[in-house]
Amino acid sequence: MDCVLRATGLTKRYHGNPALDNLNLELNQGRIIGLLGPNGSGKTTFIKMAAGLLTPTAGELTICGEKIGPASKAMVSYLPDRTCFSKQRKVTELLDFFGDFYQDFDRSRAEQMLTALGIDPGARMRTLSKGTQEKVQLVLTMSRRARLYLLDEPIGGVDPAARDYILNTIINNYDPSATVLISTHLISDVERVLDEFVFLYQGKVIQKGEADAVREETGKSLDELFREVFKCLPNC
């Protein structure tokens, strides 16, 4: 299995406090991985760094062997935890935009998904509800045939039906040549979909493994394991 992401000694410091602390992590191809941890553990920082929005204070991060830059960005599809599209734009304009810049963008797939959701491509973003805007963003992100998908808290603050839709989209979109990294603190909702998990605490990886192996060996769900592991840590 190819290594899709490799972080060595990755550190990010903001005024003394490290958001990421000498973090080492390898993600392999064709896996759906959960980046799990409480708020402030460094999940979003790590994902933003992989997306190219933050620069590390120390350490290295490579995506499919490439340093973070235009080459890595072409392979990474990033879904942020907030809507980032200009509200003036129409949905079709966003489809044009993605098609222009990303060679791996599958426009027909995106249009299919939008139709299935009942979203009018001619609508301006500002006329859509917040939930619908988020769905548009999800559709665009998942319609790319990327090597690495970075989903930052995709189901936080979302109703159960929408959550099901998001998880189904992730499953339906699965490709053995791609990797999906989902950061969340809502573990029980997501653990059915995960191959592997990574527990993050204060910018460090404190535990990782395969989801089913945990269930087999300990008879616990990931959610239960998480509570157990994080119960005894300070600031949790």
């Binding site: 759906i32 189904n168 499953i171 989801a211 089913d212 192996a213 269930r215 087999e216 769900s221 239960e224």
Partner: protein, 124 residues
Amino acid sequence: MNWKFAGDRPLYQQIMALIRGAILRGELPPGGKIPSVRDLAAEAQVNPNTMQRAMTELEREGLLVSGGTSGRTITEDSEILEEMRDGALRELAQECAEKFMVFGITPTQAAQLLLNLEKEREEM
């Protein structure tokens, strides 16, 4: 199919149990085709790798037969089906016995309870 999972046992094993159950109930008839891993994973809302693992295991057991590119079918080998049925029933009986044991009821007493239940049902 009702894909309900508990979080504390390996998902792939639970999937296998659910599929065995469906075959026993006749929902998935012997010789019948099974949807692709992708479709099943989407239906069950689980990771395709997990579904793949379950399918591979069932194939190894002989319960599923790989048809190459045309997908998987359920075996028509009656011996394997019998074996699976027996195995599933044994497991169920074991579970029941353990549950009754919690209340201090022996298997013989449990059998009597079940017979009484059946009589009541017939009288209704």
